[in-house]
Point group: C2
Chain length 241, copies 2
DNA sequence: CGGAATTTTGAATATCGTCAAAGTGAGTGG
DNA sequence: CCACTCACTTTGACGATATTCAAAATTCCG
């Protein structure tokens, strides 16, 4: 049996983690085998389905998590029911507000989702022992700040047309972060029209109209509402402003 | 000469820091006297006036800073000139994007501003030595995430009226974080009408109209354009949605 | 195949933007 | 101290964009 140079303790990595596709990309990338073993004692995989709520807005935070599969939406709601999606999370994002007892947002699954959940206390202890973990979380927080600001520009200054195109561009980048040149791409929308509206600060009608328009001018093709083929990536990029 | 119990090394605190009003509140609160001495070797106070740019959008980051006095605006601009303010920074906020070579936003003074500037390298070394510093910066990053999301709700879902009222409420909280009951408050706006528009995703005309309306219904008083007296805090809170 | 949920589309309306003109205030120099 | 200038703000009339409300069409799923 061959043992690789650095992964001499690889057999010590918990089974749970060995099968985790995003183990090296997320927060856990900062942990070595021994730390993973320690960590895994306090984690468990939780499966939720579309519509299930992981954290309530202003609800207490009992556990944190890492997304392993699927899409989560973070929403804020006004007293009269108006809603805004303020973030989307994909694997391997960290879920939950650190250093705060209440979640400032509602966290809800947009699709079938698997997360790797860890208790508050276990994470706190791990953070105390392992500064590299905190560095990872700082990195994610800074990325979220950047993403949030990118969307503030869209919400405040872009037209409905540009908002919808920007959202599609965001989906393209989610698939292929380097979205080079004019390579055609296809993907399934993780959100309903209503959710797209909640994300873009638009109504469902306006979202639908602008998608129809992008379809009519030949920028995209739409199959069965959810599936998008990008026929002209450059034109889509232009439309995004 | 009396030396207090814990601050036995107080005389070692750099003069620069001794006179810093926000020394304990910002990032530097994580440093002891010796560390401050070390730190202060690489810092200098920089004074800038309204309109001066500390960081360009996509410009290289040569130094970080802490706000000591005044207000900074963080903006993003589209190719055709449309602009959005994506954040405001006050003392003792940390300025600059960590772990990234280019600033994702333009940082510009809204008023006379003093910052305590530190070189990239000096901060990096300090962070390596002092995990508590990173914890402080993580805290600020998380606060900025929360603030950004709060504004996304306003930008995406609030009416012009609610946006303007929300902005005034934000100013009230900036003065008095607990903005209790119905205590009247007064303050000077740190932004011009145009800047308020860029912040709220509105035009200057709409901002002015909504301020006039709040004045006419007796919620606020306006003196010489910049000074606001809040006459009815509860009504303002209602107007903010 | 049938019913529910979602999406598309249409017509009328409201909100906010655009453009332009008038008003106000701060700073400067006489 | 006053008048002048310039930048900023207010206000108005009109128009464009997105919303609202409602109905028709499509897709999903049992």
């Amino acid at each position: 049996m061959s043992t690789s140079r650095k992964d001499i303790h690889n057999s010590d990595v918990p089974k749970l983690c060995q099968s985790c596709e995003v183990r090296h990309k997320g927060m856990c990338g900062a942990l070595n085998a021994n730390e993973l073993v320690d960590f895994a004692k306090h984690t468990r995989v939780v499966k939720v389905s579309a519509g299930d709520v992981l954290l309530q807005e202003q609800g207490s935070i009992r556990a944190y998590a890492n997304v392993m599969r699927g899409v989560l939406k973070l929403t804020k709601t006004m007293a009269d029911g108006r809603q805004q999606i303020v973030g989307l999370q994909f694997a391997p994002d960290f879920v939950g507000r650190l250093h705060q007892d209440e979640s400032p947002v509602r966290v809800e699954a947009c699709s079938g989702v698997e997360v790797c959940s860890i208790t508050r206390n276990a994470l706190r202890k791990m953070l105390e022992k392992n500064p590299a973990l905190e560095t990872k979380l700082l990195h994610q927080a800074l990325r979220e700040v950047d993403q949030g600001r990118e969307w503030m520009l869209a919400l405040g200054r872009k037209t409905a047309r540009e908002k919808v195109a920007s959202f599609l561009m965001m989906m393209v980048r989610q698939i292929d972060p380097f979205s080079r040149g004019n390579a055609a791409t296809a993907f399934d929308l993780p959100l309903t029209r209503a959710e797209m509206g909640d994300f873009l600060g638009l109504t469902i009608g306006t979202v639908s109209r602008e998608l129809t328009r992008l379809r009519r001018v030949g920028v995209i093709r739409i199959s069965s509402h959810r599936h998008i083929d990008v026929l002209n990536l450059e034109a889509l990029r232009q439309s995004a402003g």
